[in-house]
């Protein structure tokens, strides 16, 4: 005698009875086990997917604020855009993730201005400063002076946007 298959043994599973969406015949009207309603689950999933699709923004610049750098918060901030990123952490300076001496910031900015075609297109040229909110403003002095030397008149301070 043939052994019953899995499907035959579990033909009355709660999921099995409702996994297919179709018209129900009168012969199947009496069920001994309660089924799971998954059509509402499909509705909820659809809404979630649509919300996440619209909520995922592809505009703006991705700023890699590493663990340990807490950006200050601001209410009236603009969306971040592409520019040279200058990070300050523990008295160390980084331009586009590359560690640099504070005396060489101006030269590096000048070099980037010449080589980076994207920066050339933006007028006026600008740099984005990423620093911890508890850092003393004194640490930004070399950046302000170097930016001025290199001809960068506009500075952008990276902040975490706060609701109004």
């Amino acid at each position: 005698m043939m052994q019953p298959t899995f499907l035959q043994v579990n033909q009355y599973s709660p999921l099995g009875s409702v996994q297919t969406l179709g018209p129900q015949s009168s012969a199947k009207a009496s069920k001994k086990m309660a089924g799971l309603m998954i059509t509402s689950l499909v509705d909820a999933f659809s809404i979630l997917v649509i919300y996440l699709l619209f909520g995922t923004s592809t505009n703006g610049q991705e700023i890699d604020a590493k663990i340990g750098v807490r950006l200050p918060t601001a209410t009236f901030s603009q969306l971040a855009d592409q520019s040279i990123t200058l990070k300050v952490k523990n008295h160390r300076y980084f331009i586009n993730e590359k560690s640099i001496n504070k005396n060489q910031i101006a030269d590096e900015l000048r070099r980037l201005t010449k080589t980076n075609s994207e920066v050339k297109l933006k007028t006026p040229p600008s740099i984005t400063i990423v620093a911890d909110q508890d850092q003393a403003i004194e640490d930004l002095n070399p950046i302000l002076l170097a930016a001025s030397e290199a001809g960068y008149s506009q500075l952008k301070m990276a902040v975490q946007h706060e609701g109004e």
Binding site: Q19, T20, V42, L52, F76
Partner: protein, 157 residues
């Protein structure tokens, strides 16, 4: 010969739909941005050589001391007005009193009677960066051009 009745009803299997949706949700959750990053644009208070027009624009200078005392001064480009600077101290938490700053800034702007568009922020060396940003945030809310000067020592301020 047995005749098998063919069902004409159409059934949709929802399990693959649920699987694909779960996959989409997992993917979108991993790439979703939950913290919105922004930026505050400030002008350099030094550098740029502008053509001289002979007339200095009216400006307001905001000095922030290490004790979080804030002094708001009006610089009259035409040297006609001499307004007393407005001063106020820190709040109970020892930080810059932003509410008082908003009030005093509005007071200075109305006292000047001019359309002041340029504000210069001069913090002292040890003032935290986050508090300076809060001051600039208030200025940006008033749609003013904000300039940031390099920080100075106590003796200069």
């Amino acid at each position: 010969m047995s005749s098998q009745k063919k069902e004409l009803d159409f059934e949709i299997n929802l399990m693959p739909v649920l699987s694909i949706m779960s996959l989409c949700i997992c993917f979108l959750l991993t790439i979703a941005v939950w913290n919105r990053m922004g930026m505050i644009t400030v002008q350099q208070a030094i550098g740029d050589v502008l053509p001289s027009t002979g007339i200095n624009p009216d400006s307001i200078i905001i000095k922030v001391h290490k004790t979080r005392q804030v002094v708001i001064e009006f610089k009259d480009g035409k040297n006609e007005k001499d307004l007393a600077p407005l001063k106020f101290g820190a709040d109970t938490a020892g930080k810059i009193n932003i509410e008082l700053f908003k009030v005093n800034l509005a007071k200075m702007l109305s006292k000047s009677g001019r359309d002041v568009k340029t504000i210069l922020v001069m913090p002292e060396n040890s003032v935290p960066y986050g508090e300076t940003i809060k001051v600039m945030d208030v200025l940006k809310s008033q749609k003013l051009n904000v300039g940031l000067a390099p920080s100075v020592s106590e003796e200069v301020l």
